[in-house]
Amino acid sequence: MRVLIVDDETLARSILAEHLAKLPEIEVVGQAANGFEAVKLAEELHPDLMFLDIQMPKLSGFEVLELLGARAPAVIFTTAFDEYALRAFEVHAVDYLLKPVEPPRLAAAVERAAERLRNKIPPPSPEQLSAAARPPGRTLERILIRHEGRVHVLPLERIDFIEAQDDYLSFCAGGKRLRKQQTMSELETQLDPTRFVRIHRSFILNVERLARIDLYGKDSWLAILSDGTKLPMSRTGHTRLKELIG
């Protein structure tokens, strides 16, 4: 089995590599020190299995998985202590290791991963996993978008509105648009409902950007944003927005 190790601490990577070297049929093909490297190496090296730390600079382990999407290898999470993540792993029956990792525990996890690979058991989606790992009451804080080979980290407060276009969502921030493959309803559940409102079948609005509401016709309105952009608003959207801003 070809293995990729992802951890921002050199020592943590080296001890994992040391333990793995003693296991049969395991070859460590690469080591990544951060989320960006992890995404790059996972796509270049096509490992079968990835040991993935959760807390890393720039991208968390969950975000690495989200970016890799369907191309993600089997994953064993490693963490020192993260109560919410641990609960998420338990709930979704995902393999994880607690640092410092004990060799017998590591061997068992690798064995189980191999078994899953043989039986082709699909892992839970990274969105589900990271949603479960979020402390209760916390919503999404940033959006990850891969655009022309680069990873963009888009903090939610920079987003003006989100528009649905076919299978994609178009995130509009300061006049620029970034596209991501995701569905409107999926995103809607992850956003803070006090900051983002779905005003139309195809539009989610950052409430802070709203300048005024114009009546457009019977049962339809226009949301005018502070930069002058006009967005259509449905009756249900109008009701939702009214409920929020009063």
């Binding site: 807390q55 600079p57 020192a80 640092k99 410092p100």
Partner: protein, 355 residues
Amino acid sequence: MHPIFKHRRRLLLYLGVWVVFGLLLTVVFVFGGNAPVAWSLEFAVPVAIVLGLQSLSFWYVVQATPADDTPVVRMAVIWAVAGLVSLLVWIAIAYAWAIWLVPTNEVYPETATGILPLLIFAGAVGISVAVLGHYLAGAFQRSRNAERRALELQVLAREAELKSLRAQLDPHFLFNSLNSVAALIGNDTQAARQMCFLMANFFRKSLTLARQQSIPLAEEVSLAQTFLAIEKVRFGERLRSSFDIAEDVQDVAVPPLVLQPLVENAVHHGVAHLLEGGEVCVQARRREGFLELVVSNPCDPDRPPSRSTGVGLVNVRSRVETLCGHRASVDVDARETSFRVSILLPAVSSHAATS
């Protein structure tokens, strides 16, 4: 409100004591004054209860003249007046009661003699005992209150200590450090040993420092340096630090664990999120009678919002305020790519602070 009225039991007990006083008075009247038993009983017990109720007013006099800080002469005069007034009122009531009891022209039964002197004597004794009792009860109450207050203060101090300890024993820090030790043991036993020493040092220091009210800045700086040394083993090249502590502030008294949590934040919420890492800067200098303590670090504008935002900072702020009140201040300057906390404390030498 009078403390006796707060509890039914207390009031009943109090009146019970006065009933006993009344019975003793009965005995005095029967044997000393040759009065009939039935009359003595009927006369003495009610007037004893009246004296008891009257004596309740002494509580207010006791409140006004605390035994500890009222001059003796003043107290003697006040009590002489209060006792005399009380006695006169009581005698008048007793006299009226006596008239009521014997409907003929006589005040006392025929056989009885010398009832008035006995009454005056008994009243004086009763009043004296009541005053003494009030003082004793007051002293008892005060010492109990003082005990409770001391206990409350102790609980508060313990709570603060626990809070800072919990902040100290960040599980992430502990387990990651242990992981580093486990990794080092394989190929660099010297470094592994060094790491164990650092960790032992760090935990021992934070345990002992947390119990003190204030410590010299130099000790707090050394704790922060130990913390950084451990984190450097984990983060390697990515974590750098610089200390600029002026010679004349080394000895300034600071609340324990005022610097270390800030340095910890600088690492975990700042440098840890940067691919290339960064430098944690600690500066301390004297400024117009104040100690200025500054911790600054670079940070990633895109960093995810941290889960424990402000916990360490809030803790530091409350401890600084507890020790120095409004003369101290904690300022935060959070920018896109940098974070800076500055603390101003009155610069008091730690020798002066402890003595």
